[in-house]
């Protein structure tokens, strides 16, 4: 089975070790017998989104994220078409915020209807436990997510968040709304930074199942499972 992965802006939207997401996904797919190709594509290169089964973009500094928006603008329609065609698309950290109408005065990719306000003087940081919303649960995933959020943005309200905030020293999408991220079809957007597929093995498994279908076989990812349990327990004490 051939699976094609796109790691978008791999060299500058990779601020918090996000390379781990792609390395882990590639390794697990190979272990399941898939023939995996990973294309790392960046500024100056043309992404053909429809070619891929999985599209990923991680976090960057605010400058680099603005650079990513400018780079991706000409391809926004294609990315939207890929999302509408049920491709699995994961944008983490501040990457998913590019897909709205605006970031401050700058145009976003206008794929989804929301606005982002950034205040560089206010960083919202903290460890997080996030609980899947009904929209995410419909993908057969109900365990809490763990991770870290590090941003300076507020996202206007939307209807289908990915999570309810259980623990986060700071906020979700916007102050006190206790909602985080965005899910639409197979698009997953969350402010969680870093290798979230490593830290949340249940999420990785869900993606493996989506990608592999009947070819998927249950495996034991004991290091990731134990790391997840320990982090969840540490965070739950706080």
């Amino acid at each position: 089975m051939d699976i094609k992965i796109l790691f978008l802006c791999y060299d500058f939207m990779n601020l918090y070790g996000e390379n781990g997401n792609i390395r882990m996904l590639e390794k697990r797919l190979k272990e399941q017998g898939a023939n995996v190709t990973v294309d790392r594509i960046t500024k100056g290169e043309t992404p053909n989104f429809m070619e891929y089964d999985f599209i990923y973009c991680g976090s960057g500094t605010e400058n680099k994220r603005n650079m990513a928006v400018e780079y991706l603008k000409p391809y926004a329609k294609d990315l939207k078409a890929a999302i509408e065609a049920d491709k699995i698309v994961l944008f983490t950290g501040n990457a998913w915020e590019m897909l709205g109408n605006k970031i401050n005065d700058q145009d976003g990719l206008k794929i989804f209807d929301f606005d982002v306000i950034e205040d560089y003087t206010k960083r919202l940081v903290g460890d997080a436990i996030l609980l899947p919303t009904e929209d995410l649960k419909s993908k057969n995933i109900d365990k809490p997510f763990v991770g870290f959020i590090n941003k300076c943005s507020v996202v206007s309200e939307r209807k289908t968040p990915m999570f309810n905030v259980s623990m986060l020293s700071g906020d979700g999408n916007s102050p006190k709304d206790k909602m985080e991220g965005f899910v639409y079809k197979n698009f997953f957007g969350t402010g969680l930074t870093g290798p979230i597929l490593v830290k949340n093995p249940h999420f990785l498994k869900m993606i493996l199942k989506e990608l592999l279908g009947e070819k998927y076989s249950e495996m034991d990812y004991k290091n990731e499972e134990k790391a997840y349990e320990i982090t969840l327990s540490e965070l739950s004490k706080r």
Partner: protein, 453 residues
């Protein structure tokens, strides 16, 4: 009125400092209390002709300690803030406790380590004459923010009447001097063990910090530190006033400005930048170069974050070295790993991640994916022990290094890890961990620290 205010503030700060000293409390409290009552006190005191500030991600404290040591050797009196008091409160304590009752700082030089995030608050009240910026790395991103954000907040602490002294080899640091007359630079020339490629996990110098287009490097010293040039706007590494012109890894010597050679045990140029910054500071403060060089050699003899230990395992005693890195700081880890792989002998290495920070809580382990642990996949590394609460996060990461699973031991406690570590029969044993966790190893019953600091 102003005179009385200064008088009272100095008395108050010195008194609290004395009392806090009796209680063994930190050096921030006197300044903190004084600032509550006299918030503008820093703008009222009289500073000496030279006020040197040092900031950056890694090595601030070492650099300041080294500069202080050199200045003293050069016959200067120096007021400087000690580790942990590098925010406005600590600076206030330092300045007022070194002042006369009329608010005149008594020393020839004021030397300040400045927290990179809070320098803007301190230097609102007075401006350093010379401001040394060493490096901007991914460092404790959970607390500090990313390097470009830190760049922004440091910018707010820089005024026109301050002269900048910058690391030319760090493209983001060097940008502080972009278009700024009178800026001076230190850095390293091309040396034999430089690399043509950046082989670390990420490359923070790939895009120009000025225009965002691609940069090209002639060579890399390590990570994104090297000789760069933008392909579009011509932003480039600046010529240096203080240059490391030669470095001999085998004999442990470096040469500055083709003229001064000093002994300095090091494993990469990483450790040499503190020395270069200190040499620059010595010269601008008027210390003779030869005096500075010999002072720097002495300083290295009694410093360094390397510790040797004996670990008892039944009848057997294993002698090893503990390398202190910083958690959440991949460049500092890369450096320690380079020391481990630099030895050609058979080696066992134990990596401990138990508390991510000693100052605050976080379970964030993403930074493990920025560290080039792949370097440990080397013939002479015979065993790897991963220990501490986050040993499984480490294990996850190590599954990608190419090191075979049977060479890796995983333990939730440091004590269990130490057993495996001691049982491994190799010539060398290294422990790599952070300030926050090293005590958990050195305080084990069967461990004796034998040297280092």
């Amino acid at each position: 009125m102003k005179k009385i205010k200064i008088f009272l503030a100095v008395i108050l700060c010195k008194t609290i400092h004395f009392l806090a000293g009796l209680l063994g409390r930190g050096s921030s409290i006197p300044g903190a209390i004084t600032l509550k009552i006299f918030p503008d006190i820093l703008s009222l005191i009289t500073l000496p002709e030279k006020v040197v500030a040092v900031t950056g991600s890694n090595g601030k404290t070492s650099t300041v300690e080294m500069i202080a040591h050199i200045l003293k050797a050069g016959g200067k009196t120096v007021a400087y803030n000690k580790e942990g008091s590098n925010q406005i409160e600590g600076v206030t304590t330092c300045l007022l406790c070194n002042s006369t009752l009329s608010g005149k700082v008594k020393s020839d030089v004021v030397l300040l380590e400045s927290d990179e995030r809070f320098a803007r608050h301190t230097f609102k009240h007075f401006h350093p004459t010379d401001y040394i910026i060493t490096n901007l790395y991914r460092d404790q991103l959970t607390r500090n923010g990313h390097p470009e954000w830190v760049y922004g907040v440091i910018s707010e602490s820089i005024y026109p009447d301050t002269r900048l002294i910058l690391n030319a080899d760090d493209p983001l640091v060097s940008k502080f001097g972009y278009g700024r007359e009178g800026t001076l630079y230190f850095g390293a020339d091309h040396v034999s063990f430089d690399s043509d490629t950046n082989d670390s996990i990420y490359h923070d110098g790939k895009y120009c910090p000025v225009c965002g287009e691609k940069m090209e490097y002639e060579y890399f010293h390590y990570n994104h530190i090297g000789k760069y040039k933008c392909t579009s706007c011509n932003y480039h590494r600046m010529d240096t006033t203080w240059s490391l012109t030669d470095a001999d890894l085998k004999n442990g010597t470096i040469t500055i400005n083709n003229e001064h050679t000093l002994s300095l045990p090091f494993s990469s140029l990483y450790q040499c930048y503190n020395t270069m910054a200190a040499f620059a500071a010595a010269e601008i403060c008027g210390v003779d170069a030869n005096v500075a060089i010999s002072a720097m050699e002495q300083f290295h003899l009694k410093s360094g974050r390397i510790m040797t230990f004996d670990l008892k395992d039944g009848e057997k005693t294993v002698s090893g070295t503990l390398l202190t890195s910083k958690h959440e700081n991949s460049i500092s880890y890369d450096q320690s790993i380079r020391v481990v792989t630099g030895t050609e002998k058979d080696t066992t290495v134990m990596i401990i991640v138990d508390a991510v920070s000693r100052k605050y809580f976080t379970s964030e382990t993403s930074w493990l994916w920025d560290i080039d642990f792949e370097m440990l996949d080397s013939d002479n590394v015979k065993r790897v022990v991963l220990a501490g609460k986050y040993c499984y996060d480490l294990a996850s990461r190590f599954a990608f290094t190419g090191i075979s699973e049977d060479k890796i031991g995983i333990y939730e406690t440091v004590a269990e890890g130490a057993k495996d570590f001691a049982a491994s029969n190799t010539d060398e044993h290294f422990v790599v961990t952070c300030f926050s966790d090293k005590g958990k190893f050195t305080s084990l019953e069967n461990v004796t620290v034998t040297g280092g600091v």
